[in-house]
């Protein structure tokens, strides 16, 4: 069997993913989280919390929900189903931290949990901090 035939065979048996369905699921989940966030925000506002603090509380409540759901075990299934619908919102950040903490707990508190807790979220922090710092320096230099 030559390489071309082999490639055709691989292509034939690779499970086909329904991209339109995936995209639709991601859109619906993302929209639902957006609505949920505004709902939480307005409930907080009704308790006379100012906009800025209510915004932070909203994010923290979403993070709490995501962490607890990951700990209870059913969030992984949801993430594998709707993928970017839950990965792109802040729930994905909390999920990545909690799931790597849970996965490496068995290797010990320091070398397992401590060393690996940022295994997935580390790239978000690193590139976020570096890129925003560089852009801020550029902005500062433009206005000098």
């Amino acid at each position: 069997m030559n390489i071309e035939e082999y490639k055709l065979l691989v292509k034939k048996y690779t499970p086909k993913e329904d991209r339109i369905k995936n995209a639709l699921m991601a859109f619906i989940t993302g929209a639902a989280i957006g609505i949920l966030s505004i709902l939480i925000f307005q409930i907080l506002q009704s308790y006379n919390i100012n906009d800025k603090d209510a915004n932070i509380w909203t994010i923290m409540i979403l993070i709490l929900m995501s962490s607890v759901a990951t700990g209870l075990g059913f969030f992984d299934e949801w993430v594998s189903k709707v993928r970017c619908g839950l990965i792109i919102p802040i729930t994905g950040f909390a999920h990545s931290i909690t799931s790597s903490a849970l996965d490496y707990k068995k290797d010990g508190l320091i070398t397992g949990l401590g060393a690996n807790v940022f295994k997935l979220a580390g790239s978000v922090l690193l590139y976020g901090i570096v890129s925003s710092f560089i852009l801020a320096v550029v902005e500062v230099l433009i206005h000098v």
Partner: protein, 116 residues
């Protein structure tokens, strides 16, 4: 009306991520990192403020807002403290998100076990 705007904004960002995930070889880690950088760039160009006023709090839910907040905090730090402020203020607004994610994750880890 703010509900509709928020739903559309959050949904479209997630849709964009899913399209990239399905049609390229990039993993979820790549996409979240790219989106954070894109958020910082949009904030740098002054575009993210329009999203925030259009979609309300929903604009701060996707991971792109992480880059936006980091960049804004950095600029604010420079305006109040000069060059030192770039470093001291960089994580100020995102601190709540990062700290709570770590603390909740730790507490959850104490009580739960990984499912295989």
């Amino acid at each position: 009306m703010i509900y509709l705007n928020g739903a559309i904004f959050c949904g479209l960002v997630c849709l964009l991520g899913e399209i990239i995930l399905d049609n390229t070889k990039l993993t979820a880690g790549h996409i979240t990192s790219i989106f954070v950088v894109v958020g910082a760039i949009l904030s740098f160009l002054g575009i993210y403020d329009y999203f925030s006023s259009w979609a309300g709090t929903a604009a701060s839910v996707p991971i792109t807002s992480f880059g936006n907040l980091l960049y804004k905090a950095c600029i604010e730090g420079y305006n109040t403290k000069g060059i030192l402020g770039l470093f001291t203020n960089l994580l100020s607004t995102t601190s709540a998100g990062i700290s709570s994610a770590i603390i909740f994750a730790f507490i959850v880890t104490l009580f739960c076990k990984a499912k295989d």
